[in-house]
């Protein structure tokens, strides 16, 4: 199978989406009959060309970071381009990967409804939406913390390469908890009381000499 992967991160090749897609693609290409091409939605000037590729493809996966509870503006821009260039008739099979900063899957469930409807709007067979939270920070984590996540994306890709579907058990495992459990909330509060939940941001604030200004309100009326 020939697969078109569209990366909808405003950070393009430097983002977390790119890392997850890299592992997915590696798994997918384990089947020698498969080939994959990746396009980046970061720049609006590339959208027309990519929309034409979309129309000609047999299967497409659009992956993006959750941005203000939905798709980044550039992804919406691309969807609008699709609406303009698309002729009548069926579209390729389409699936989505949404990854977010907050750990719970619930944050991405609302845009998932949109994506499912989008597939119907495009007359495209819907392959589903893979949701993964807690992804901001993976680039600062040591390998032992991300190993299982990357392995899960590789198996997701490998299964996709054989069955042309997202494996439901892997999808469920990746989405993990819909909401924080009582235990997680207690752990969060304990970490919060000793300043652990803000460690990542404090580290960067200090590195930039901005720690003292972290509560600034430049637009206070």
């Amino acid at each position: 199978m020939r697969l078109l992967l569209l990366n909808g991160s405003p950070r393009g090749t430097a983002g977390n989406t790119a890392i997850l897609l890299k592992h997915f693609t590696e798994g997918f290409l384990a089947n020698n009959n498969n080939s994959a091409e990746t396009g980046y939605l970061k720049r609006a000037i590339d959208h027309r060309k990519l929309a034409e590729k979309f129309t000609g493809a047999s299967a497409v996966i659009i992956a993006f970071p959750l941005y203000a509870d939905s798709m980044p503006g550039i992804v919406k821009d691309f969807i609008e381009t699709l609406g303009r260039v698309r002729g009548k008739g069926p579209s390729p099979k389409i699936g989505f990967i949404v990854q977010s900063g907050f750990p719970e899957a619930v944050h991405s469930r609302y845009v998932e409804k949109y994506l499912e409807k989008l597939a119907r709007r495009l007359d495209a067979p819907y392959l589903g939406t893979v949701i993964r939270g807690g992804v901001e920070g993976i680039q600062a984590m040591p390998p032992f913390m991300t190993r299982r996540l990357f392995m899960a994306f590789r198996s997701l890709g490998r299964h996709f390469g054989v069955t042309k579907e997202f494996h439901p058990i892997i999808v469920k495992k990746l989405a993990a908890k819909e909401r924080l459990s009582m235990v997680k909330k207690a752990v969060f509060r304990a970490c919060q009381s000793i300043g652990l939940t803000n460690m990542y941001w404090n580290m960067m604030l200090k590195k930039n000499g901005a720690f003292e200004r972290r509560f600034d309100r430049p637009y206070q009326p």
């Binding site: 609008e80 609302y110 600034d216």
Partner: protein, 183 residues
Amino acid sequence: MNIVILNGNPDPNARELERYIDALTAELAAKGHEVNAHTLRDMNIRSCTGCWSCWVKTPGMCAQHDDMPVVYTSVMAADLVLFASPIIMGFVSALLKRANERFIPLIHPYLVIDRGECHHLKRYTRYPELGLILHKGADADDEDIKITSDIYARIALNFKTTLRFSIQTSQPIQEALHAIAAA
């Protein structure tokens, strides 16, 4: 009330939403409200690049140089912000969405648990209430309106406020005025 309207209609020739906003603005002004309408398509609004400067380099300020500071100043002084957009491909315009995600400097990076979920800490003590004005058009249905309104209720939660109403340009201006008075 100080009311700000962010007009996310990308097409100056699509008049229905423009007429609705103009009529609403006139009625609100006649009632003594201060109304500031920003037509986003006439402004330079760049996409968020995800650089986090606004959280870790220049807290509260975006690194990009465009017209967003006008929006920030106006939004933070408002009691109510109305997001207005036609439904395009089932959602608000890319133009409005682009402006919405640039609101991230207005909140704080620190995490808190709010209503049992992870969210961010407030940066300011007070945030405006939100309302949605949607123009349905030929290509949209009630499901699109529901999906969009539900997402904006979530956006409001992350913007430390509440989506008070979602109205459509097919509804009489009076209904919009009632919704605004109740907000």
